[in-house]
């Protein structure tokens, strides 16, 4: 984007010499000021959001300090608040979802970018875009009524039978829990990984592929050993974007994670996530410290997604520059 701003005929020398009054008269200056106010309000709103999260969690932050992040107890009645079960649940579900979504998403992106004819690729991408538009509450609905029963009756018993010796798959099969939430999240973030990775792969210069093929590599070797490494940064970016989405996802997770603040190594165990506890308890929080603890959780979530989104954007911009010399993703 930065390069294209120069194409706009803005304050040139001729314009600069016109008096302020004449610019005011023909409306340019008024328009500039008005649109500036609107643009500035976006910055203001964002600052206000950060300040509000910081300010409204101040009592909780002072009271609990860093212990907030390592305490396992979440007891609104006794006014004891520890974020560990929620942070644990959020991270575990996000990791499970990435383990599923990354191979599938990158595989599909390679197919769309490298293999499929233009028309097929565009059609499939259109469906992927529609998939990305499905709201999370719909994923939650299907999660509750389709995925959870499937997990309880078929998948989880099978996992226990085959891999039950691992601590990852111990305990009763409830259907709801970390694994189910991770699977639903995976389905939700796959479209993001595909769309962004496909763009990145398509921006890899053609001569990279041709050179590899000319040296006698097979089609797969040229893709996997030349094109994908070239696009590695951008693909990492797409994964970070997906991770940020997965961490902040609320409705679908709330509906299938089981909503109990437990830290349990078993993926079959019910759990809780940061977003889910905010969604469930925010309107019911009666004491000020409860509300503050929830806002502090919101602050944690905000910071996590902020860092991940920033990293993702950096990686995407760097890869795009490497690919074509254009700073546009």
């Amino acid at each position: 984007m930065a390069t294209s701003t120069t194409t706009v005929p803005s304050a040139g020398p001729a314009e600069g010499s016109r008096s302020f009054i004449s610019r005011l008269r023909n409306g340019d200056e008024i328009a500039r000021i008005i649109t500036f106010l609107f643009a500035a309000s976006v910055v203001l709103i964002t600052l206000l959001l950060v300040l509000q999260l910081w300010h409204d969690s101040s009592i909780a932050r002072h009271k609990f300090g860093l212990n907030f992040f390592v305490t396992r107890v979440w007891d609104p009645i006794a006014e004891e608040f520890g974020a560990l079960p929620f942070i644990y649940g959020t991270l575990v579900t996000a990791v499970v979802s990435l383990l599923i979504a990354v191979p599938l998403g990158i595989g599909a992106a390679i197919f769309l970018a490298e293999l499929a004819p233009q028309k097929v690729s565009d059609t499939l991408q259109f469906f992927i875009d529609l998939l990305a538009a499905v709201p999370s509450v719909i994923y939650g609905l299907l999660g509750v009524f389709i995925v959870v029963p499937l997990m309880r009756v078929y998948v989880e018993p099978a996992l226990k039978q085959s891999l039950g010796f691992l601590p990852l798959f111990k305990g009763p099969a409830y259907g709801v829990g970390f694994l189910t939430a991770g699977i639903v999240l995976a389905i939700m973030v796959i479209p993001y990984i595909i769309s962004v990775s496909r763009e990145v792969l398509l921006s890899v210069p053609r001569d990279q592929r041709e050179a590899a093929l000319a040296l006698g590599s097979t089609r797969w070797e040229s893709t996997w050993k030349v094109v994908v490494p070239f696009a590695r940064g951008g693909i990492m970016g797409s994964i970070f974007l997906a991770l940020a989405r997965a961490l902040g996802e609320t409705m679908a997770v709330t509906m299938v994670i089981g909503n109990s603040p437990i830290v349990n190594p078993s993926l079959l165990s019910p759990g809780y996530s940061i977003a889910a506890v905010i969604a469930n308890e925010f309107t019911e929080a009666t004491s000020q410290i409860h509300l503050q603890a929830l806002v502090e959780l919101g602050l944690v979530l905000f910071l996590l997604t902020f860092i991940l989104n920033g990293l993702a954007r950096l990686l995407l911009v760097l890869t795009a520059q490497k690919g074509s010399g254009m700073g546009h993703v």
Partner: protein
């Protein structure tokens, strides 16, 4: 052909086939979702669903007329709040600003775009619910509008940048002021793209549930005016899906089908607008 080459060819074909399988699996999810919704929801949709209020727990029947109207109200208000800020802010970025101001605004918009929707809900609660001590359609619309701002802003800017410089120069050479040029030449040239972006933003927030939970809240009756708790389709789906009642589950499916159908139709329509007239921009 020596064995090594044969092996390499086999690996190549196998892996490429697997990527195809990945793509098919990913896309088929969409059809699973549609299939389940049509199967479960289609049977529950009837005239009552669109015209009746929810009935008390235990009684069968009823509908979600209030949630459909409520969603429409929220979306209209949200656009009235979010679109002008995004659109005019985008004009400033594309036409007036220097690069440092633009960087800050763009950065803020991207930041806002990445904020999880539940956190937007907390923010809207603090700003529009706490001071007035009650949930309202205004609060819900504020939360949704916030989410529309970054999308509208960035795409307005992008599509305005796509307008050829010659159009601007032509207009200014005829003596039009800069503002005149923007309003009657530049914006109309980018009109389709901007409309598409606004429609997509609207479709995105139409399904948002998390920010509405503690702003618009929900309502089992008609809400009178905009200052009362207001029902919306996504929140209704959530509440009905996690309820223990069979009849509510049925209605949650029906509501899910209606919501998804609306969102997909808007998406397809918006993309159609763009692809039909995108020649100037692409």
């Amino acid at each position: 052909m020596n064995p090594r080459l044969r092996w390499r060819k086999f690996v190549s074909n196998f892996m490429l086939t697997m990527t195809g399988v990945c793509a098919v699996v990913a896309v088929s999810v969409l059809f699973f979702i549609l299939g389940y919704l049509v199967y479960h929801g289609g049977a529950s949709i009837n005239w009552n669903f669109f015209t009746k209020l929810p009935v008390p727990v235990g009684e069968l029947g009823g509908g979600m007329a209030n949630a459909i109207v409520g969603s429409a109200k929220l979306l209209l208000l949200a656009s009235l709040f979010g679109v002008p800020i995004g659109f005019l802010g985008g004009i400033y970025l594309a036409e007036f600003s220097g690069s440092s101001v633009a960087f800050v605004v763009r950065y803020a918009a991207d930041l806002l775009n990445g904020v999880p929707s539940i956190v937007i809900g907390i923010f809207a609660y603090a700003l529009t619910v706490l001071p007035f001590k009650h949930f309202s359609a205004f609060a819900g619309a504020f939360a949704l509008g916030l989410m529309m701002i970054p999308i509208t802003l960035r795409s307005t800017e992008e599509f305005l940048h796509g307008v050829p410089r010659a159009l601007r120069e032509g207009s200014m050479a005829l003596g039009a002021s800069k503002w005149r040029t923007i309003m009657s030449v530049v914006v109309p040239a980018a009109y389709r793209g901007i409309m598409t972006a606004i429609l997509l933003a609207l479709a995105r927030v139409a399904g948002e549930t998390a920010p509405l939970l503690f702003t618009a809240f929900g309502n089992r009756y008609w809400s009178h005016g905009l200052n009362e708790p207001t029902a919306s389709l996504p929140v209704m789906i959530f509440n009905y899906a996690i309820s223990p009642y069979e009849d509510w589950h049925r209605q949650a499916w029906a509501a899910g089908l209606v919501l998804l159908a609306l969102i997909l139709i808007v998406n397809i329509f918006a993309r159609a607008i763009l692809s039909r007239g995108g020649t100037i921009l692409r």
